[in-house]
């Protein structure tokens, strides 16, 4: 089943002579259970593609469809609901709300969706347990836990509930290699469980966890490979 579909999606910032084409007519589909890595040099449009996929940004051309729903047809309120129920984000800088504990951060989408505190906490503890965090960490604030724990918490938040699409923007960028590998294992496991994943990364080894790699350059998808056998060769080819 197709979870995410980008149909000739473009994003232009500014207008006229100052127009910057961040993404140009990108086509991409991700199936349920599939983890897709996006690679490319800085400014190639990787983060733009991710933001468009999650409805954080709106395309200036084309269509983004999540689980059969075209995002352009949704209001801001409906887009927010989509992010609460169907799309999860994982950022490089963890992006946890500093005034909420790890468990509360993980439970944030559920609480925003109106779930009771007790029930949401129960679900959050389960999600944290799934990413390897115990109850001790659950009640700590973001500035009281390590980077790896913070990123696991972010993943727990991205996966909590019935989400089918996980968007990860360089989730290992701020972590040491061992912790980074653990995080990617988690993502892989989630996708193996039926979710669709989109992973932005600079590291070819990390891309090796993906089922497919998409290369971007100057806003265009220039190549894709499945499975990723020789990432270095492909990267050279992209440049």
């Amino acid at each position: 089943m197709t979870v995410l579909q980008l149909r000739r999606v473009s994003r232009v910032h500014g207008s006229g002579e100052n127009a910057v084409h961040a993404l140009i007519e990108a086509d991409l589909s991700i199936e349920s259970g599939e983890l897709v890595a996006i690679m490319g040099p800085s400014g190639s449009g990787k983060s733009t593609l991710l933001n468009l996929a999650g409805g954080l940004d709106a395309p200036t051309g084309g269509e983004v469809v999540v689980e059969g729903t075209a995002l352009s047809t949704l209001s801001k309120k409906q887009l927010a609901a989509l992010r609460r129920r169907r799309v999860g984000y994982v950022f490089q800088d963890y992006n946890l709300v500093p005034s909420l504990t790890a468990a509360e951060n993980a439970a944030l989408p559920l609480e925003l969706d109106g779930m009771g505190v007790g029930k949401a906490r129960k679900a959050a503890l389960a999600a944290l347990d799934e990413v390897g965090l115990d109850a001790k960490v659950a009640d700590r604030f973001p500035d009281e836990i390590s980077g790896g724990q913070a990123q696991r918490t972010a993943i727990a938040r991205a996966l909590i509930g019935e989400r089918r699409l996980v968007l990860a923007d360089e989730p290992t960028g701020a972590l040491d290699s061992t912790t980074g590998e653990d995080v990617l294992k988690l993502l892989r496991r989630r996708c193996d469980g039926g979710a669709a994943g989109l992973l932005v990364t600079h590291d070819a080894r990390h891309a090796g966890w993906a089922d497919r790699v998409v290369f971007l350059r100057d806003g265009r998808i220039v190549d894709s490979s499945s499975p990723l056998d020789e990432p270095e060769t492909l990267l050279e080819g992209a440049e």
Binding site: S47, N51, G54, L56, D57, K76, K77, A80, A81, L82, R83, R84, R85, Y89, F91, N95, L96, V97, P98, S99, L100, E104, L108, P109, E111, L112, D113, G114, M115, G116, V117, A120, R157
Partner: protein, 939 residues
């Protein structure tokens, strides 16, 4: 829904705890005005005694207080809960019957058997004494009570030190002990040295903590009433029995449960609608000021939390979730601010109770909180907290998620629509102001004040952007400061708005208070210039068998006074001021006309009055106009407003029963402030028999002032007769001539049949010595001891100023200055924190550390000056409307009331426009870290 709100409150609470400094600022900005209200409400409620409490305080455990209203004539008593009660002689007789003496035995006979009474005055004291003080001579009040009677202690008299006086001893109040410097065992000496009294104790009457008084059984007993102690509880029947003797009865049980009510209970009707509108206007303006003051702290805080809001948004938060999170902060801060304000206010009132009792002059009934007012304040705080956070909440809900997550501050273009909307809102404000004035609508005026300020706030980003353009010609630090201010308009504009709001409020309050002060000063008759020194000599005269003896020779007596003065005042010159008035014997000729033969013995009821009146053609036509209907009254008032002859106000309609005069140039100069040739001309005019007047409309077409002399005699058949005498007049522009607005020369006075006051004389003094309070007391002591037979000498410094208002305005200015300073400093601090990345860049390219300090200083100056400038403009505009609102009511009557004018509060301007910016700039220089930061920048 509920869960979402709970989450919002949890985040708000934890954010408040995480950023304690920022939270404290927001709470302080919301709470300071509330603290003022809480303090005022609790202080007022604590010091305000209910009628029953006031009764209990004055009567203590005694049963009642009695005094005669109509001695010996039965009365009907209407009020029971105050010492200033209301009784009537039944039947409303046209002429009041003669009073009949009632003895103490008769009073006791009217009371239940076994009752006792003791002389007492519940409203003050009965006599006074002049006694020696450490600085000279002063006066204290006296009461001739026999304190061995336990009734006085039962009434509340308390010994603070020592005990009851024995023969020849007195007790003093604490105020008298402080004033005379005497303690228990010391002696108090009369000013004339004829007696000394030993102090046996220091006492307190709970209802009078201010008056310096002495009590001794040998002082004259002239009490206004009696304290009563009855064996059983005092009843209404007891009161009725005393009413039969013409007595007013004040008793605790009857005050608590009055047996009768006043027949027409419309004492405090008032214009409740008008009061409600004024209160509404003030409340609206206060809400706007608080919102403008506290709002920027929320706005800046929301900007700094934009990443957090973006994270929440990425996790699925809808705009309403983000709005709720910020609003929850406003609600939380509002509640915390209200609770702190109420608690601190109550504690402050509790701690200041002795001080307040000293100021009020009576003991309180204990700390009270006025729960309704405090509850209203909590509600008010919640509303202002929410309103303050509203703009920030809307802004948070529109966060640019992508930019915020990337750590970028998206470049904000100046949206043309805001300044345009701002200008439109200002236009609406001006229109509403005019409409409010024309239609006499307080809501419109309130709307105008609010619209003008909001309009200015909306235009602030444009102004900041324009000012930023000036930076191109400036050195690096001010150039960067100006451009940063322009670039970060989102932070700068709210900070400027905060300073603007507090300065505007301070300016408007100061202008109103200063103008009100001037208005009240106008009601006082100014008869000499400020600071003029005078000596008054007065004599009660002596009587022998044939009547009163001749008046004293004041000039001869003054020679002694002048000798004493010369010892203390350098270069002393004294000039006699005449105080012209009709002579009593002048009644004779009039009586001869109205009742032939009566002039031989002038009766006591004969009274002569004179006044300089405007001739008929110069009188305001309003007095004769038809004012029967509202429309006619309005038309007559409109005509009066446009008629220059209708320049009278209630302030100029007073009357002095005597008129100053002289042809001594020094005296004429003092009263008219004329100099040189003009003074010479005025003196010659007076010498030639003329008068000076400061009211040009008093002069008729022949150049004369018409004096109307009226003779009244209550005994005569034809009780009143008038005579008009014309005297040549010269107009002086500025005159300190009192209500009569006339200054007489000796020749004119003689022509009018007026003569200098026979029993008093006044001298104008000129000296190079500065006169202090201590010198005044010294002189008073020396005059007291000087052998001046039967003369009362008083030395006076003319002073029309009211220091209270000056200090009030200064306090308002300082308070506003402190709040403005706080708002400036904190706002600047937050903006500088936002500019950290730029400072890092500067450091990387070799900028000296002091650049950061200078940058901070210029940022501060930009915010403070723009805020103070706009605030001053808004305050002046606000006062225009407040003034119109206040004056409108005063103009609807004739004579017109003194109106609110323009008294510019220079102290306030100085503090707002100079002191606050400069202090803030110095603070920025001192407290900004010089070290340039080194960090990764995100943009």
């Amino acid at each position: 829904m509920l869960s979402g709100l709970r989450l919002s409150f949890r985040i708000a609470r934890r954010e408040a705890l995480r950023y304690k400094g920022r939270s404290a600022l927001s709470i302080a900005l919301l709470g300071i005005p509330l603290l003022g209200v809480s303090l005022g409400a609790s202080a007022w409620d604590t010091m305000e005694l209910s009628p029953v409490e006031a009764t209990e305080q004055k009567l203590g455990e005694t049963d009642a207080y009695l005094r005669f209203d109509w001695e010996g004539i039965p009365v009907v008593q209407h009020t029971w809960d105050t010492e200033w009660g209301w009784t009537e002689v039944p039947g409303e007789p046209e002429t009041m019957p003669e009073t009949v003496p009632v003895s103490e035995d008769q009073i006791l006979a009217a009371l239940p058997e076994g009752s006792t009474i003791a002389p007492y005055t519940a409203t003050g004291f009965d006599g006074s004494l002049r006694v020696e003080t450490p600085d000279g001579v002063g006066g204290i009040q006296t009461a001739g009570y026999d304190l061995s009677d336990p009734m006085y202690e039962a009434a509340g008299l308390e010994y603070l030190e020592g005990g009851a006086p024995e023969s020849g001893q007195i007790v003093l109040s604490q105020a008298a002990a402080d004033y005379t410097g005497a303690g228990v065992g010391d002696a108090v000496t009369l000013a004339d040295g004829t007696a000394e009294y030993t102090v046996s104790g220091i006492v307190e009457l709970p209802w009078d903590l201010k008056t310096p008084f002495a009590i001794g059984d040998f002082f004259e007993v002239a009490a206004a009433g009696w304290l009563v102690d009855t064996p059983e509880e005092f009843t209404y029947d007891d009161a009725l029995a005393l009413n039969e003797l013409g007595m007013y009865v004040w008793s605790t049980p009857l005050a608590a449960d009055p047996p009768t009510a006043p027949p027409d209970d419309n004492w405090d009707g008032g214009d409740n609608g008008y009061t409600a509108m004024v209160v509404g206007l003030i409340a609206t303006v206060v809400v706007v000021e608080i919102v403008l003051l506290a709002g920027p702290a929320f706005a800046i805080s929301a900007r700094r939390r934009s990443r957090e809001f973006a994270i929440m948004s990425a996790a699925g938060a809808a705009p309403r979730h983000l709005r709720n999170t910020v609003l929850a902060g406003g609600l939380l801060f509002g509640i915390v601010a209200a609770v702190i304000a109420v608690v601190v206010g109550l504690l402050a009132v509790w701690a200041a109770m002795p001080l307040m009792e000293g100021v009020a002059g009576h003991r309180s009934a204990g700390l009270r909180i006025w729960p309704v007012m405090q509850g209203t304040m909590v509600a008010f705080a919640i509303v202002t907290g929410l309103l303050s956070a509203l703009a920030a909440a809307v802004s948070a809900s529109r966060v640019n998620v992508v930019a915020a997550l990337a750590g970028r501050t998206p470049k904000r273009r100046l949206k043309k629509r805001w300044p345009i909307i701002g200008l439109v809102v200002i236009g609406i404000g001006v229109a509403a102001g005019f409409a409010g004035v024309v239609l006499w609508s307080m809501p419109l005026m309130a709307a105008a004040i609010v619209a003008l300020q909001l309009g200015l706030v909306m235009c602030t980003p444009l102004l900041v952007a324009l000012v930023a353009k000036l930076g191109r010609w400036l050195p690096l630090a001010p150039r960067m400061a100006l451009r940063e201010a322009g670039r970060n308009r989102g932070s700068t504009a709210p900070a400027i708005a905060a300073v603007m709001s507090v300065v505007a409020a301070g300016i408007a309050i100061s202008l109103t208070v200063a103008a009100d002060n001037v208005r009240w000063q106008q009601y006082r008759a100014h008869t000499l210039p400020q600071g003029a020194l005078t000596v008054h000599l007065s004599s009660e005269g002596e009587f022998d068998e044939s009547g009163q003896t001749a008046p004293p020779d004041f000039d001869a007596e003054f020679a002694q006074v002048e000798r004493i003065l010369s010892e203390h005042l350098d270069g002393l010159e004294a000039h006699r001021i005449a105080d012209y008035m009709p002579q009593e014997e002048d009644c004779g000729p009039y009586l001869a006309e109205s009742a032939p033969g009566a002039e031989e013995s002038v009766p006591e009821g004969c009274l002569i009055m004179y006044r300089a009146e405007r001739p008929e053609e110069n009188q305001c036509p309003f007095m004769e106009a038809d004012t029967e209907t509202e429309a006619a009254l309005e038309a007559a008032l409109e005509e009066a407003r446009n008629d220059p002859r209708c320049d009278e106000t209630t302030a100029t309609m007073g009357f002095n029963d005597s008129t100053p005069g002289s042809d001594d140039p020094a005296v004429v100069a003092a009263y008219t402030e004329l100099e040189g040739d003009e003074l010479d001309e005025a003196v010659s005019f007076l010498e030639d028999g003329g008068v000076l007047t400061s009211d040009r409309w008093k002069v008729n077409e022949d150049g004369n002032v018409e004096f109307t002399l009226s003779y009244y005699d209550s005994e005569a058949v034809d009780g009143e007769r008038e005579e008009v005498v014309e005297v040549p007049a010269m107009t002086v522009d500025k005159g300190l001539l009192g209500y009569n607005q006339v200054f007489l020369g000796p020749a004119a006075a003689e022509h009018l049949g007026l003569a200098d006051h026979p029993w008093s004389a006044q001298y104008l003094l000129e000296t190079s010595t500065e006169v202090t309070d201590t010198l005044q007391q010294q002189l008073a002591g020396e005059f007291e001891r000087a052998p001046l037979d039967d003369l009362w000498v008083s030395f006076e410094v003319t002073d029309y100023t009211d220091e209270t208002m000056f200090y009030f305005v200064l306090a308002v200015a300082l308070l506003c200055g402190i709040v403005a300073l706080g708002a400036t400093a904190v706002s600047t601090g937050l903006i500088i924190a936002e500019s950290k990345a730029d400072m890092t860049t500067l450091g990387a390219v070799g900028a000296e550390p002091r650049v950061r300090k200078r940058f901070a200083m210029w940022q501060t100056l930009v915010i403070a000056w723009l805020g103070a400038g706009l605030g001053t403009a808004a305050g002046l505009l606000g006062y225009v409307l407040i003034r119109e609102a206040l004056n409108r009511g005063l103009k609807n009557q004739y004579p017109f009331e003194a109106l609110y004018g323009w008294e510019l509060p220079w102290a306030n301007f100085g503090i707002s426009l100079l002191a606050v910016p400069l202090i803030a700039a110095v603070g920025a220089l001192l407290f900004t870290k010089a070290r340039l930061p080194s960090e990764r920048r995100l943009t």
